[in-house]
Subunit: 460 residues, 2 copies
Amino acid sequence: MPREDLEKFFYPESVAIIGASTKPEKLGHIILKSLLESGYRGRIYPINPKAEEILGLKCYPSILDVPEPVDLAVIVLPAHVVPSVVEQCGKKGTKNVVVISGGFKELGGEYADAERKMVEIARKYGVRIIGPNCIGVFNADNKLDTFFQSRDRMVRPKKGPISFITQSGTFGCTMLEWAEHIGMSKFVSYGNRCDVDEADLIEYLAEDPGTKVIAVYVEGLGDARRFMEVARRVTPKKPIVMLKAGRTREGSKAAASHTGCLAGTYELYRAMFKQAGIIEAKNFEELFDIAKALALQPLPREGSIGMVTNGAGPCVMATDACVEYGLKVGGYSEETLKTLKERLPPYCVLGLAIDLTGSATSEHYAIALEALGKDPNVSLLMVFFVFQDTPLDEGIIDIMKEAKEYGKPILCCAAGGPYTIKQSRKLEEMGIPVYPTPERAVVAAKALFEYARIRKIGSL
Amino acid sequence: MPREDLEKFFYPESVAIIGASTKPEKLGHIILKSLLESGYRGRIYPINPKAEEILGLKCYPSILDVPEPVDLAVIVLPAHVVPSVVEQCGKKGTKNVVVISGGFKELGGEYADAERKMVEIARKYGVRIIGPNCIGVFNADNKLDTFFQSRDRMVRPKKGPISFITQSGTFGCTMLEWAEHIGMSKFVSYGNRCDVDEADLIEYLAEDPGTKVIAVYVEGLGDARRFMEVARRVTPKKPIVMLKAGRTREGSKAAASHTGCLAGTYELYRAMFKQAGIIEAKNFEELFDIAKALALQPLPREGSIGMVTNGAGPCVMATDACVEYGLKVGGYSEETLKTLKERLPPYCVLGLAIDLTGSATSEHYAIALEALGKDPNVSLLMVFFVFQDTPLDEGIIDIMKEAKEYGKPILCCAAGGPYTIKQSRKLEEMGIPVYPTPERAVVAAKALFEYARIRKIGSL
């Protein structure tokens, strides 16, 4: 059952920006400007009792003065006036409200009281709230966004397979930009989580056809029981990757003054995640790296990781990381080794990794990838590049495209300057993820194997 | 005592490229071309018995035919002919040889024998060898490099404080490009390490005035006893950061087929590093991150980390990481808190981090940085930016420049797309390192505290 009451957060036909400002430096101005420039085609109503017109749009004194129905209200006003504005939204029949403003529960005391009061009012009118203390929503489908990050400061991602829900707007901004060319479906920064919570959002995204993987940053959970119930239901169908902040007592304290959340015991969370089939990321890079792999690659069978490279150092470190994570490397079949020995130059090293050395051409890669691609012992291809090595010709991109035909997941590793970034981008744009360090590629591989197991158990 | 016998690896007046080729795709062509384009002003002699001229330079049949002295020979020829060519270098009086070619110890058996034979010959003539199986040397001082990575594939770094010695050419390429705008002094990729080893190189770099921090990637050590003796002598004066690959049995096996090194027991290495005052990096990103901090920032007194941000999520994760690494956060003086309460807007959160919120301007950062900069409890400033947040004006760069005046180390954290990268670059160009994740900033902070302690003990 999709969360129908959340639909208008992502697909409103009309949006009111309550607190829209004439002053360019104000959040209420930036949000309106950004939405106008977004390509979103719904109606937009600036609300401000002191202005006639903002950015060429007629301005209304309150949402109640808007002559047509308003599906979504975005509130960016000082905290103390927000509850009464939520009440106006309720009266107007606007059931979906994003509260950008901070100054609530994260400050404690009377501010937390104001947040509670706001929720009470919302419940009375059947209004759902995302926030407060957040940057709101983004939907790549219709280009809607509620961000106070201007377009020249923050790139919006193309439409794609990752959805991200986050208590931290900061990590939100980073993910939006890192995912630029991988693409995103839906994005929600929900800050203090006074009402709409991760369980609601995951339930919604589970039914979103554009979402292939759900990435989550939380400091603490709202309704843990419902969260578990929803997650358990979703993970056999769509992967959930989660980053949990506030692992330590001091971190929890920091979380409390960020989103007013009690972070809870980390070990308890880990156990819960495991039980619910959630993949845990240990830091933000891991969260992105794992989401990228799950979004772009097929799942592996049980088996070994086959490595191909033109520079062996990173394979040594990758092997260390694989062993430490309990992943197998090498174990190539006799036939594979025979083929490689026959077809590759004699200076190539056929060890745990197939080291084509710095003299490697794309043709050498093609030979190695074909052998490993057909080797029944190999279930995942990890391909390392020193793109800087000049013998490696441009044909490598097409060779990698062909390597997808073996049907095995492929993860690449390459790091360097502008040329390497350009080549890596080409690979990612054709759906092959590239990681800058061997450890990060191995973490992604581990997640693919882990989710393959979760999927298997879930489908029993 | 500087290693005078190594001087000509970095400051030769003349270089012979033995195995220079007329064919553009050959390593021996790329190395010559790259050196010609480098800006290096010494004499360059291509050696190839089958060519009259390569890239406009007169070509000699052998190094013995060059009419003038040759300080440095770079050999890029099939392995089996290299020993006899080293002998010619000895006869010529060329005491410094870089062997780029692979196909030696890393293949085992007779190939390892060839490497041994080559070393015997070198010893006989007093020739020192870097390599084989490597990409050789780079000196930012005179622009010399021996790389087969063309300039359009691999950017060379500007002159700067990091020197890097590495058994892996791949990690070498990455470091050269990552350090582009931080800058490098000397670089050595030494592959199989048949002769010149890490102890020799560290001893040399200890006396190199351009080197402020020595970064090292090793799979196994050559002469561990001498290494320890040298490292113990150097670390009280210059920091050494090391990444050790081949931590696991399988990783060691991978190392053996990479550089022919026995990787040894990881725990033993860790104990040795600790005893010698070496800072250990756990992966390649850490190696670079730590080197960057040590290269650019002053050392902290004992004390607490002060955090300032306009988006608190990363501070929660940074706090977790600090606690896990035994670093203190916050603990601001009464006076600091009083000042901040008076001077900052009321919605700012004065917790473990000073959270200026998404509405922060550079003026708010200035207020917070001044208070923390003068707070006697704070010994390191960790400054987080959501550069995407549009209220944060361009003045922030100057504010950060002024913050250096407090004399405390500053580490920043910011991650995102083009605008964020541009702002981060500006900070790094004025000597303030920026990290993409809180954990990476915290690892750098930990290393600064660690090296401050090493320095203290060393100077007793």
